[in-house]
C-alpha cells in the first residue's frame, strides 16, 4: 500500500509542471466569460442531440417515415392548406414549414445532423491532413513541393464554390471494380455533401500541420533528441506532435463552425440534404417563398426562417467562441501578464 502511495506521489511530482500548466489554462478558461458561454452552448446542444429521441419522439408512418431523420408531415391538415406554413401552436411548438413539416422535430433532430456533419468532416480531414502534413513536413524535398502545390490548387478555388461543383458532380453510386467482384457504395445526398466538404477541407489541415512541423523541426530540442539517438518516428511522436496539438485544436473548433455553415448554405441552395431531411439549412430552404409577407403582415412567416436559423447561428457561435477562447489562452505571447 505504501509502495503504491509513494509511486503515486512520485508520478505527481514528475508531472507537476504539466499540472501547473493545466491549472493555468483552466483559470484562464474560467476567467473568460466568452469561453464559458461557448462551452455552455456546445454542452447544451450535445444534450439536445443525445436526448433527441426523448424530446421529439419519432412519428410512425404515415405521417413520418421509417428513417427518423426524415421530418414528419402533419397529414391531419386538409390537403389544400397543407402547402402553407403555420405559426407555432400546441401541436407544433415551432410551427410548420411549407408542406407542413414539423419545425420542432426538424430542429431537434437537426442537431444530430449538425454534429454528425461537423465532427465527421473534421475527423476525416484531420486524419488525411495529419498524414499528408507529416509526410510533407518531415521528409521535405520533392514530396513536400508536390503536396504543397496540390494543396495550393485546391485552396485556390473558394470553398463553397468548389463544394457546389463537387456535390453536383459526385455520382449517387460509386462502383469499384476489384476484378473478381464489384463493390458498389451508395452515396446519399448528405453523404455527397460530407465527401465534398472533406475533399475541400483537408488541404488546410495539411498546410497547418506541415507548417507546425517545419517550425518545430528546427528547434534545438529536436536536434538534441536526434543527437541522443531517437529514431525519426519517435522524434515525430514524442517531440513534434505534442507541440502541434494546440494550433490544431484551435483550428478544429473554428472549422467545425465553418463546416456547419457551408453545409447549411449548400442545403439552403438546394444541393445539400434532400427535402424533408432534418437539417437546419434544408428547413430554411423550404421557407424561401415565405420570407416576407404582404402589406398587412410585414413580418411574414417569421418562424420558418428565424427558428432554424437561430439554431444554426447559436451552434456555430458556440464553436467559434470556444475556438477563439482557445486561441487567446494558448497564445504564448499573450499570457502571463
Amino acid at each position: 500500500m505504501t509502495d503504491f502511495k509513494s509511486k503515486l506521489a512520485e508520478f505527481k511530482a514528475a508531472r507537476q509542471p504539466t499540472i501547473k500548466e493545466l491549472k493555468f489554462i483552466f483559470t484562464r478558461i474560467k476567467k473568460s466569460p466568452l469561453s464559458i458561454m461557448g462551452s455552455a452552448i456546445i454542452i447544451f446542444y450535445a444534450a439536445l442531440a443525445i436526448l433527441a429521441p426523448v424530446l421529439a419522439p419519432p412519428v410512425p408512418p404515415p405521417m413520418g417515415k421509417t428513417d427518423p431523420f426524415i421530418v414528419w408531415k402533419d397529414l391531419n391538415i386538409p390537403p389544400l392548406e397543407r402547402m402553407l406554413p403555420r405559426p407555432p401552436s400546441p401541436t407544433h411548438p415551432f410551427g410548420t414549414t411549407e408542406e407542413s413539416y414539423d419545425l420542432y422535430y426538424g430542429c431537434i433532430w437537426g442537431t444530430i445532423t449538425a454534429f454528425k456533419v461537423g465532427l465527421m468532416v473534421i475527423v476525416l480531414s484531420l486524419i488525411i491532413g495529419l498524414v499528408t502534413g507529416a509526410i510533407a513536413g518531415y521528409y521535405g524535398g520533392i514530396v513536400d513541393e508536390v503536396l504543397m502545390r496540390f494543396t495550393d490548387m485546391v485552396i485556390a478555388v473558394p470553398g463553397l464554390v468548389l463544394c457546389m461543383a463537387l456535390v453536383v458532380a459526385l455520382p449517387p453510386q460509386f462502383v469499384i471494380n476489384l476484378g473478381f467482384t464489384q463493390l458498389s457504395i451508395e452515396l446519399t445526398k448528405l453523404d455527397r455533401v460530407l465527401l465534398a466538404l472533406v475533399l475541400v477541407g483537408w488541404p488546410s489541415y495539411t498546410r497547418v500541420i506541415r507548417g507546425e512541423i517545419l517550425k518545430v523541426r528546427e528547434e534545438d530540442y529536436v536536434e538534441a533528441a536526434r543527437a541522443a539517438g531517437c529514431s525519426d518516428f519517435r522524434v515525430m511522436i514524442k517531440h513534434i506532435l505534442p507541440n502541434t496539438i494546440y494550433p490544431i485544436l484551435i483550428m478544429a473548433s473554428l472549422d467545425t463552425g465553418a463546416i456547419v455553415l457551408t453545409a447549411a448554405a449548400l442545403s439552403f441552395l438546394g444541393i445539400g440534404a434532400p427535402p424533408g431531411y432534418a437539417d437546419w439549412g434544408q428547413l430554411i430552404s423550404l421557407s424561401r417563398n415565405y420570407i416576407y409577407g404582404d402589406i398587412g403582415n410585414p413580418a411574414g412567416n417569421w418562424w420558418v426562417w428565424l427558428i432554424p436559423g437561430l439554431f444554426i447561428f447559436t451552434f456555430v457561435l458556440g464553436w467559434n467562441l470556444l475556438g477563439d477562447a482557445f486561441r487567446d489562452i494558448l497564445d504564448p505571447t499573450l499570457r502571463r501578464r
Binding site: 466568452l34 502545390r149 496540390f150 495550393d152 490548387m153 485546391v154 485556390a156 478555388v157 473558394p158 470553398g159 463553397l160 464554390v161 468548389l162 457546389m164 461543383a165 463537387l166 456535390v167 453536383v168 458532380a169 459526385l170 455520382p171 463552425g257 455553415l261 447549411a264 448554405a265 439552403f268 441552395l269 438546394g270 444541393i271 439549412g281 430554411i284 420570407i291 416576407y292 409577407g293 410585414p298 413580418a299 411574414g300 417569421w302 426562417w305 428565424l306 436559423g309 444554426i312 447561428f313 456555430v316 457561435l317 467559434n320 467562441l321 477563439d324 505571447t333 499573450l334
Partner: protein, 346 residues
C-alpha cells in the same frame, strides 16, 4: 532580389497554379458519363449524331488526351454550353459579371476600412470595453449564416420598413435603361449601374442602384469583417510589443502618433495578405447574397445551375472564381513586396 525579379518569379508561378486549377476542375468532370461531358463543348439539345460528336471531341479517348482537348477549347473561350441559361457559358458569365462586380466593388472598401479601424481600436484598448464589444460583434458576424443574415436584413428593412428593396434596380430605372438602350439615348458602358448612371448623366439611376446595393453590401461586410478585425488586432498587438514602439515613446511622441504612424503601418502588412482571402470570401458570399436579394449575377446563376445540374455552368463558375482568386493573390503578393521594404530591398 529586387522587386522586378520578385514580380517575374510570381508571374511565372502563376502558370502552374492556373494549370493546377484547371486540372482540379477537369478531374471533377471525370465523374460524369460521356453524354454529360459532351455538354462541355456543344449544345446537347442540338446533337443529332452522337457518335460523330464523340469522335470529334474524342469523348471516349483516354484521360490525358481529353484533358488537352478540353484545355485547348477553354483557351479558345469555349467553356461549354449552359442548358439553364440557354447560351454558351462564357457569354453567360460575362453578361452576369457586372452585377456581381458591383457588389464586390462597394463591399470591399467598406469591409477593409471598417475592419482596420476596429482592429486597431480593439488592440489599443485591449481587454477594455471597446475590445470586448468589438470582438463579440465580430464573432457574431462570423457565426451568422450568410443567407440567414441576408434574410433578416431583408425582412427587417424591406419587409418591415419598406426600405432597400431587393434586386438591382427599381422598375422605373429598369424601364428607363431598357428603353434608353433600344432608343440609343442610354449607353451601357460598364454594366455597373452606379457608374453607368453617372456617365449617362442620370444621377437618379446611380442613387437607385446604391439603394439596392446597400443591404447586399452590408450583408457581405458583416460576415467578412470578423476575420479582418481578428487579424488586424493580433498583428497590432504583436507590433505594440516591439522595440521601436518604446523608442518612439522615448522620443516623446504622443500615443496617437505612436499607434497610427508606427504600429499601424507595420501591422497593416500581414493584413494586406489577408485581403486575398477576403476576395475568396467575397466570391463565396456573393453566391448566397445574390440568391437571397434576387440579383442576377454570376453567383445566383451558379446556384440555379447547381440545382438543375447544369454542369458546364457550375464548372465554368468554379474556373472563373479560381482564376480571379489566383490573380487577386498575385496582386496582393506584389503589393506586399512593395509595401515592406525588407522584402523589396532584400
Amino acid at each position: 532580389m529586387g522587386l522586378g525579379t520578385y514580380i517575374i518569379r510570381r508571374l511565372l508561378l502563376l502558370i502552374p497554379i492556373l494549370i493546377g486549377v484547371s486540372i482540379i476542375i477537369f478531374a471533377i468532370t471525370e465523374f460524369f458519363d460521356p453524354y454529360a461531358r459532351a455538354s462541355l463543348y456543344v449544345d446537347p439539345t442540338k446533337v443529332r449524331d452522337w457518335p460523330a460528336v464523340f469522335q470529334k471531341y474524342g469523348l471516349l479517348d483516354p484521360v490525358y488526351v481529353r484533358y488537352f482537348r478540353w484545355i485547348t477549347e477553354v483557351l479558345h473561350g469555349n467553356l461549354g454550353y449552359s442548358q439553364e441559361n440557354r447560351m454558351f457559358v462564357l457569354k453567360a458569365l460575362m453578361s452576369k459579371f457586372p452585377a456581381s462586380a458591383e457588389i464586390a466593388i462597394f463591399s470591399t472598401p467598406l469591409t477593409i476600412l471598417l475592419g482596420i479601424y476596429l482592429g486597431v481600436k480593439s488592440a489599443v484598448h485591449r481587454d477594455k470595453v471597446v475590445d470586448h464589444i468589438t470582438r463579440v460583434v465580430a464573432i457574431i458576424g462570423w457565426s451568422l449564416p450568410t443567407f440567414w443574415s441576408a434574410i433578416i436584413l431583408l425582412s427587417v428593412f424591406y419587409g418591415g420598413f419598406g426600405l432597400f428593396p431587393p434586386g438591382r434596380l427599381g422598375s422605373a430605372a429598369e424601364d428607363f435603361i431598357s428603353r434608353g438602350t433600344r432608343a440609343g439615348t442610354y449607353t451601357v458602358y460598364t454594366g455597373l449601374n452606379t457608374f453607368d448612371g453617372l456617365l449617362n448623366g442620370q444621377l437618379w439611376i446611380t442613387w437607385d442602384a446604391l439603394i439596392h446595393l446597400f443591404l447586399p453590401c452590408v450583408n457581405l461586410t458583416i460576415v467578412q469583417i470578423a476575420l479582418l478585425i481578428r487579424v488586424m488586432r493580433s498583428s497590432m498587438l504583436e507590433e505594440l510589443n516591439k522595440g521601436y514602439i518604446t523608442t518612439a515613446r522615448a522620443k516623446g511622441l504622443a500615443q496617437n502618433e505612436v499607434i497610427n504612424k508606427h504600429a499601424r503601418r507595420n501591422a497593416l502588412i500581414p493584413t494586406l495578405t489577408l485581403s486575398g482571402l477576403l476576395i475568396a470570401g467575397m466570391m463565396t458570399g456573393v453566391v448566397i447574397t445574390e440568391t437571397v436579394f434576387h440579383i442576377d449575377g454570376v453567383g445566383s446563376a451558379a446556384a440555379r445551375a447547381a440545382i438543375r445540374v447544369d454542369i458546364p455552368f457550375v464548372l465554368g463558375f468554379a474556373m472563373f472564381t479560381g482564376i480571379v482568386f489566383v490573380l487577386a493573390n498575385l496582386i496582393v503578393d506584389i503589393l506586399y513586396a512593395y509595401v515592406d521594404p525588407r522584402i523589396r530591398l532584400g
